[in-house]
Symmetry: C2
Subunit: 138 residues, 2 copies
DNA sequence: TTGCTCCTCACGTCACGTGAGGTGGC
DNA sequence: TTGCTCCTCACGTCACGTGAGGTGGC
């Protein structure tokens, strides 16, 4: 899969993918200078998650880098998982993955709470306006 | 109220206020060159609303300008309201205000739906991980 | 061979941050 | 008079957009 396909699948532009690689948000396995980049399905997923965290929660690329420290660890965990069959090891890996998911959920819920409080404020405003309208029509 | 107080009250910086004035998001009543800007309580409210629409929904300043066409109209409505006592006129004004509030609510609800669908996806991921953990421990 | 996509500079833009140097009001 | 805040340039930065000019793969 080349860069154009990746960008299309993830819903962004080729330039954004190159920029994310430049600043280290996406992996840049060493290529011959001028040769094409190659990507897989997990790159699509990773990029999609980055884009959603950015557009929905408004995180900066620096903040994304911190969150993605967890995401990079996620891939490492997958590989470790394949390489071990020790149940104790596997349990540790799953517990780490759970922690990462929980911290993302925390972020999303906090943001949702802010959105809901704004929504509530607008609803009150609507109530007042509707009330005023009823007064006038009555 | 001067620019520093306005920025503090609204939770932003002096530079941002000046920039918003420069691009026409905040009013720039003509001053003598070099003299101080003056603001009131409604400027605080307007700025707060701008900042929330930007940070929560991720709107660009161009998009804010469109939304604020409605907000500017809101102030105009307030003045019109004071100047008329004709019930038909007043009814029209309130109906316009309601429409503006409803369109903001639409924006907020759409965004909230996106956030909730991301939250749901993370919750599913959490479920799968918790399930895997139970398998390992059992 | 012809299109389409890819590559690397490199300058432009949006939304401000951050001094530089100077002036106004309690 | 001394601080603090204000003012206007103006250059810097972050997260890309947008060509310019050239190369690679079906």
């Amino acid at each position: 899969m080349r860069i154009g396909a990746l960008a299309r699948e993830a819903g962004t532009t080729v330039r954004t993918v190159r920029y994310y690689e430049e600043i280290g948000l996406l992996p840049s396995d060493p290529r011959e200078a001028g040769s094409h980049r190659e990507y897989g399905e997990d790159d699509v997923e990773r990029l999609r998650e980055l884009l959603r965290l950015k557009s929905l929660l408004g995180l900066s690329l620096d903040e994304l880098r911190e969150v993605m420290a967890g995401e990079a660890a996620r891939e490492v965990r997958r590989r470790e998982w394949q390489e071990t069959s020790d149940p104790a090891e596997r349990e540790r890996i799953v517990r780490e993955a759970l922690e990462q998911t929980d911290s993302l959920l925390e972020l999303v819920r906090r943001h949702k709470a802010d959105v809901e409080s704004f929504e509530a404020e607008l609803n009150e405003r609507r109530q007042r306006q509707a009330h005023k309208l009823r007064e006038l029509v009555a």
